[in-house]
């Protein structure tokens, strides 16, 4: 199967290792992976801020960049939900673009649901943790996978000790530009979130969203909390031996 990687701007810039993990896993599952180099950002920051024509311009660009590919996979549920749910709505006034947006929406998949659901990657076989883990459920994964799915994947291997945080689907306070427009609120939400994660006693947090990771990593470092964050793709790739493990 030929798959195009939609890396997303944050993963590309801040978490290249997550991109590596996704590509290697897809290859291991028998896919041929391409990376359309013209890709930039899905436009979510503009959309969320109400700058809809900037967002529409980027949506059209995304459609052009990915129109040649039958299957598009991304490590970010948030950006996938932008493509799936908001592109058609954003371009609703332009029937031709709207149809294409819908076509792109139908072919764009979030990585974990694609690898586990479509390619049959077995989390029980390749997710082995040597320490207790906890997790953060990214809000924008709603409608793509649930907090219960994430928990089920992590606990698929009975030897894994998954510490369930209180209210795993509570927002970390990132929210894109919200985080810089309202740092006091975003920071307070972050504080609450980190308290809950620390209370689990686990040091390793599975977080599948680059934005949330940027927020929580930064918060944990500011408070000198002993938390580490990893994308599920990194853990899967390490488990399959296609990515050098890191602490």
């Amino acid at each position: 199967m030929k798959v195009a990687l939609f890396a997303t701007c944050l993963t590309d810039t801040f978490f290249p290792r997550v991109g590596q993990a996704v590509v290697r896993l897809l290859r291991r599952c028998g896919c041929t992976v391409e990376f359309p180099a013209a890709q930039t950002c899905c436009g979510q920051p503009a959309f969320n801020s109400g700058f809809l024509e900037h967002a529409a311009a980027l949506a059209r660009r995304m459609i052009r960049v990915f129109e040649r590919y039958e299957t598009i996979v991304s490590p970010s549920a948030s950006c996938v939900s932008m493509v799936r749910h908001h592109f058609p709505e954003l371009l609703a006034a332009e029937p031709r673009w709207c149809r294409q947006a819908q076509r792109l929406a139908d072919r764009t998949y979030e990585f974990a649901t694609f690898a586990i659901g479509r390619l049959g990657l077995d989390p029980a076989a390749c997710l082995k943790f040597t320490e207790p883990v906890t997790f953060h459920y990214p809000c924008h994964a709603r409608g793509i996978y649930g907090a219960a799915d994430l928990q089920r994947w992590l606990a698929a291997n009975p030897s894994n000790e998954v510490r369930i945080p209180q209210h795993p689907d509570c927002c970390c306070g990132f929210g894109g530009i919200f985080a810089v427009d309202y740092p006091e609120i975003s920071g307070a939400m972050l504080e609450d979130k980190l308290d809950v994660l620390v209370a689990t006693g686990a040091r390793l947090v599975i977080c599948n969203e680059a934005g949330c990771a940027l927020q929580m990593l930064g918060g944990a470092r500011r408070r000198s909390l002993p938390l580490r964050f990893k994308h599920l793709a990194e853990c899967l790739a390490e488990g399959l031996g296609v990515l050098e493990p890191v602490a």
Binding site: Q20, A37, F51, C139, H167, C171, V180
Partner: protein, 463 residues
């Protein structure tokens, strides 16, 4: 808390108030769990929610017809209907009614609509004493505080603060025992109920088919207020109407569950007209004020969906922003997610311009909403509508960002610039960023992008 400082200052004060945050955090999570638990007991809560949303949308699409039907049927049952285009007219109507009936002591059922029009102050100014009889609202009133939640007005106070307020203001012995405190207030209110001559309430639902108003309460004070005085004045937003009695059932099943996690509130009063000959109790006169106060304009706007709201407060409880800052920081009658949509629409003075932006758009409000209002979507559309009001800097940054993202060479240039902009303070972290990243680093550190981006690794064949 001061009232006229800016939103950011109010937020900063709220965030630093750990007592407030602890009280709100505890109470809101408790309510979230209660709501989820009680909805899970329903066989078909998802379908019920869809049905409720459809009924609300249907009603709003034919609102003038249903209002007319409601008014006709309520009149036929002996109620007097008043129409108030704005808050001032609504207040004036109550003042005139109080004057006409010679009322001196009014008792109130908890009502956000009367908060919206600022009724208490207007009545007090013309010499009518007003007593809130909902326990939470009573504490707010005696403590000269403001409600910070649309269902649980003193959610911002912990038990000690409540006990202090009651003993200080009523001059009674200090106790933190909830039963003891309730007894003290009950005794105090009994005397008021004995003397009162005007009852004021809001309306949860108004049934067009029968001209009935429905009031949902928990403490029994609602029935005292609507039966004991000889005059009952009910004030309702024009959006509160439902077509038929059988539609009301759908909302009764959802309202208390969403609000407090109860299957049904302790008291559900259906009031159709004043006391009839032979009735053992009830007011001699029933007046219903239909309040517009900006609602018609909202109904005609692309934001009409917000009028589906049944004021259950579930979105406030679910919202991590509300949980972090409490209700007062919003400085609005309706705080929380629904307030952030509603307030800028009802009051275009710009006073609430900060609210739509102050959300991470996490969507917890939409999940909690019993009538499926797309609050995040409405917030985004409000942000779009407000753009001209945003700062020059923000608009320029956004435009610059848009241009950067529109081609991959400029995007790559942007990535390189970002690395330059971030001073490396060791270990690949930035602790104090330059503007606008200073706003990021005011709340947390910023990870510096690693040496090579994913696309560089890809190009170099390292993937």
């Amino acid at each position: 808390m001061t009232r006229n400082t800016g939103f950011h200052q109010r937020v900063a004060a709220a965030v630093a108030d750990h007592r407030l945050r602890t009280a709100v955090r505890k109470a809101t999570w408790q309510k979230v769990e209660a709501r989820e638990g009680s909805l899970a007991c329903l066989r078909n809560s998802g379908e019920l929610r869809e049905l409720a949303a459809r009924i609300r949308q249907h009603t709003l699409a034919r609102l003038p017809d249903y209002l007319e039907q409601f008014a006709r049927n309520a009149c036929a049952r002996g109620a007097v209907i008043h129409f108030a285009p704005d808050a001032a007219t609504a207040c004036q109507t109550v003042v005139e009614l109080a004057r006409y009936y010679g009322s001196k002591l009014a008792v109130k059922v908890k009502s956000m609509t009367t908060e919206e029009i600022g009724l208490n102050a207007v009545l007090e100014a013309v010499g009518v004493q007003v007593v809130e009889t909902d326990l939470g609202e009573f504490v707010v009133q005696i403590d000269r505080d403001r409600p910070s939640h649309i269902v649980t007005p003193i959610i911002h106070k912990d038990r000690r603060q409540i006990a202090e307020a009651i003993s200080r203001r009523l001059g009674c012995e200090y106790t933190e025992d909830p039963v003891g405190l309730t007894r003290i207030i009950r005794r105090h209110l009994r005397e008021i109920f004995r003397r009162c001559d005007l009852g004021i309430s809001g309306v949860n639902f108004a049934v067009a088919e029968t001209g009935t108003i429905c009031i949902c309460t928990n403490e029994g004070n609602g029935r005292m207020c609507t039966t004991r005085p000889r005059v009952h004045v009910a004030i309702m937003g024009i959006e509160k109407v439902v077509p038929r009695l059988c539609d009301l059932v759908v909302f009764l099943k959802l309202l208390s569950r969403s609000s407090t996690g109860q299957p049904l509130g302790s008291y559900t009063s259906l009031i159709a007209g004043p006391k009839r000959p032979g009735d053992p109790d009830g007011p001699e006169h029933l007046h219903i004020i239909l309040l517009d106060n900006g609602r018609s304009a909202v109904l005609a706007s692309p934001f009409a969906e917000v009028l589906c709201c049944v004021r259950c407060g579930a979105c406030l409880n679910a919202c991590p922003v509300y949980r972090a800052i409490g209700g007062h920081a919003y400085n609005s009658v309706y705080p929380g997610p629904i307030g952030s949509v509603l307030m800028p629409l009802l009051d275009s003075s710009g006073k609430h311009a900060d609210l739509p932006g102050a959300s991470s758009l996490c969507g917890a409000c939409r999940v909690a909403c019993p009538v499926d209002i797309d609050i995040p979507g409405l917030l985004i559309r409000l942000r779009a509508a407000q753009r001209r009001g945003q700062s020059w800097l923000k608009r320029t940054m956004m435009r610059l960002w848009g241009v950067t993202m529109r081609s991959d060479p400029t995007y790559r240039l942007g990535q390189r610039l970002l690395k330059r902009l971030l001073p490396d303070e060791g270990d690949g972290w930035t602790v104090r960023g330059l503007c606008p990243l200073a706003r990021w680093t005011s709340a947390r550190d910023l990870l510096r992008p690693p040496l090579k981006s994913f696309r560089q690794l890809w190009q170099e064949g390292q993937v």
